[in-house]
């Protein structure tokens, strides 16, 4: 990939005559301008001129970002490399590289120049989409599904709360409750529709009920948060969904919102405020960690497993929650928590963020393996029996990844499912 963009021509000469003396060899480049001045800055300026993508031009190529970029581990990527590709002829608005970044923010964590890919990528993608440039087909489908059906899976809106039949406990719908509630639980698209997501949703319903929490869900009124669609470049779609969601959230009286997914947390806590929504929102791990004292006596059945925990980028790096998930896991009798090499602030990305969830086939074509596969191998190398997750994107991603890398012996479970197992025993 490094040789892909060959606009630049080195001007080192075979021979050069200086004051009548013929000097040969590599060192004669000293007598000419440095190669770098031959590069055109136009394609870097093209990116940096897009609002919110200005920091692209700040890069001074120290390459700290490349060392932590999860895509570089399975390919040839990273902000510094993108800068270099742009110098040598890559137009980011048209290149496949535009779609590989998962906005995991590990580069931003180490960047001394604050080159912010979390802002750059959505801005450049939005520009590319508006100009009718290439958009991966799978991603286009997810956008269209979200616009038409209210969720990226393309499932019917009126089946959004069909999962509650399987919960085994009553799951109140806020419209029917008819009074203020303590907790509005925003379930999310994958926990509402994806078969393995539904498992986590049912577990959460049972845990909330066992703790005596006064909660309700939006039911058929709930629609996707659309934060990942925003990061994938569809700001208009995001704004349409945000307007609907904010109006829906504000129809009802509740004290605090609990979300199943870190992407929803990021949307409602960090982005929706720009659209006028400022109410308390927490991720379920943060919320349940507050109830540890009440929760512990309910965890009666030991889960005798070695468990490793994958930090979701949007829970950890983006929102600073590293400890609550670990506290919950350690509260389960029998669980031995082991860490992967890359954890907490340096956690490896599952590949699902920034729209990556809907570009798996596209990404696979431009990398040596999926990010989720790399992470599944890391989990297996700890000797863990279970890879515990706290993001609804991850269960399906990692279940596929443990299979495709020959690590089926590693189970993939949401923390909610592990807590539920300890509460009720193996079902």
């Amino acid at each position: 990939m490094a040789q892909k963009y060959e606009k630049a021509i080195a001007i080192e000469k075979e021979n050069i005559v200086v004051d009548g003396v013929d000097v040969s060899g590599h060192w004669n480049r000293m007598f000419e301008q440095r190669v770098i001045f031959e590069y055109t800055p136009e394609l870097i300026e093209k990116v940096a001129s897009i609002p919110n993508a200005e920091s692209f031009a700040n890069c001074y190529q120290c390459a700290k970002c490349v060392a932590v970029c999860p895509v570089d581990v399975v390919g040839n990527y990273g902000p510094r490399k993108l800068y270099r590709y742009a110098q040598t002829g890559m137009d980011l608005t048209e290149a496949p590289e535009l779609w590989l970044c998962t906005t995991c923010a590990n580069c931003l964590r180490v960047c001394p120049k604050e080159v912010n890919m979390v802002k750059i990528m959505p801005a450049v993608r939005e520009q590319a989409i508006l100009e009718g440039k290439f958009v991966p087909n799978e991603l286009q489908q997810a956008f269209e599904n979200t616009a038409k059906s209210g969720n990226p899976l393309g499932q019917p809106q009126r089946k959004r709360d069909a999962w509650i039949q399987n919960a085994g406990v009553p799951v109140p719908i806020i419209k029917d409750v008819g009074r203020p509630v303590d907790v509005l639980w925003y379930v999310g698209s994958y926990p509402s529709y994806h078969p393995r997501g539904i498992d986590a949703a049912c577990a959460a319903a049972r845990i909330f009920t066992a703790l005596g929490i006064d909660f309700a869900i939006l039911g058929k009124e709930e629609k996707d948060d659309a934060d990942s669609q925003r990061l994938a470049g569809e700001k208009g779609l995001f704004e349409m969904m945000a307007e609907y969601n904010i109006a829906t959230f504000n129809k009802y009286e509740w004290k605090e919102m609990v979300v199943t997914g870190p992407h929803e947390l990021n949307a409602f806590k960090n982005v929706y405020p720009k659209y006028g929504f400022e109410r308390p929102v927490v991720h379920y791990t943060t919320f349940l960690a507050r109830y540890l004292d009440q929760l512990k006596p309910l965890l009666k059945h030991p889960v005798n497993k070695k468990v490793t925990y994958h930090d979701p980028c949007y829970l950890g790096r983006h929102n600073g929650e590293y400890e609550a998930p670990r506290k919950l896991l350690q509260a389960i009798p029998g669980v031995e928590l082991v860490e992967m090499g890359r954890n907490r602030e340096n956690g490896y990305c599952c590949g699902g963020g920034g729209g990556g969830m809907w570009m798996d086939s596209f990404t696979a074509k431009h990398t040596t393996m999926r990010l989720s596969e790399k992470r599944a191998m890391e989990a297996a190398s700890t000797g863990a029996d279970v890879l515990a997750v706290a993001c609804p994107f991850e269960v399906s991603r990692f279940e596929d990844a443990v299979k495709s890398t020959g690590n089926e012996h590693v189970g993939v479970l949401d923390i909610l499912e592990l807590l539920d197992r300890s509460m009720r025993g193996e079902q």
């Binding site: 508006l130 958009v135 286009q140 269209e144 393309g154 700001k235 208009g236």
Partner: protein, 251 residues
């Protein structure tokens, strides 16, 4: 080049189709743009981009919600949109073809595209009937249309991997099976901008037509056979599959 695209709004089959009496329960079903019409629009916009001209999209507004589909068409490159305000969700393809033909007549089109079929009544009749009403030739099942001067080169696919190209003199009506490229994406911001700024021309339905068919009963199909699930370990299952294929002369 004056291209008219006739579209159809149909009940969504993303979910189980609700039934009321002897027809679809139109009050509890979402209406969506017919999938083949998305290809018709793409095909029309591609021709416009290649040789210039205007694209007019016209459809029958059955439940007062056609605007969304029309705004989407504008965002994808259509120039003008027209809705026939029928307000009759049960209007069949014969009725709609008549109304569409009456609306299109005054537009003096060089080409009229319609999706080759729709998932509600799969009789594929809208295109041919419009052609009959407009007294134009019809070519159905197209996979690519290119225009040069007064002639279009129309590609069709046949079973068995056989393709054929026709030279068709304008004007004509085509039933579009697919555009040569997947339908483009229209960013939501563009669609919303169209919703705020564009004008949807309204015309009243004109004319009468009927398929002569009446619904007697609508019910889910009776399941007569089941798939056989093979139990066992992957190895056992694989062995059984091989056995089955052999026993039926397939391997």
């Amino acid at each position: 080049m004056n291209i008219v695209v006739a579209i159809k709004h149909i009940p969504s089959i993303a979910d189980d189709l609700p039934v009321k009496g002897n027809n679809v329960d139109f009050d509890s079903v979402d209406f969506v743009l017919n999938e083949w019409d998305e290809h018709s629009i793409e095909q029309a916009v591609l021709i416009k981009e290649a040789v210039g001209g205007t694209v007019t999209v016209v459809g029958v507004d059955l439940i007062g919600e056609l605007d969304n589909a029309l705004h989407l068409a504008l965002a994808k490159g259509a120039d003008k949109v027209v809705k026939i305000t029928a307000d009759d969700p049960a209007a069949d393809s014969h009725m709609q073809a008549k109304w569409l033909a009456e609306a299109i007549k005054g537009m003096s089109p060089d080409m009229v595209f319609a999706g080759v079929q729709a998932s509600n009544d799969i009789d594929g009749q809208i295109g041919p009937m419009i052609a009959a009403y407009l007294d134009m030739p019809y070519i159905g099942g197209t996979s690519a249309i290119e225009v040069s001067g007064n002639t279009a080169t129309v590609s069709k696919e046949f079973p068995g991997g056989v393709g054929m190209k026709y030279a068709v003199t304008l004007p004509f009506v085509a039933g579009v099976q697919s555009a040569p490229k997947p339908p483009r994406y229209a960013p939501v911001s563009k669609v919303r901008q169209m919703a705020q700024t564009a004008t949807v021309e309204k015309v009243a339905p004109s004319g009468e037509a009927s398929s002569g068919l009446a619904f007697k009963k609508m019910a889910p199909p009776v399941v007569t056979g089941h798939a056989e699930m093979i139990e066992g370990s992957p190895k056992e299952v694989a062995a059984k599959i091989v056995e089955l294929l052999k026993s039926r002369g397939l391997a």
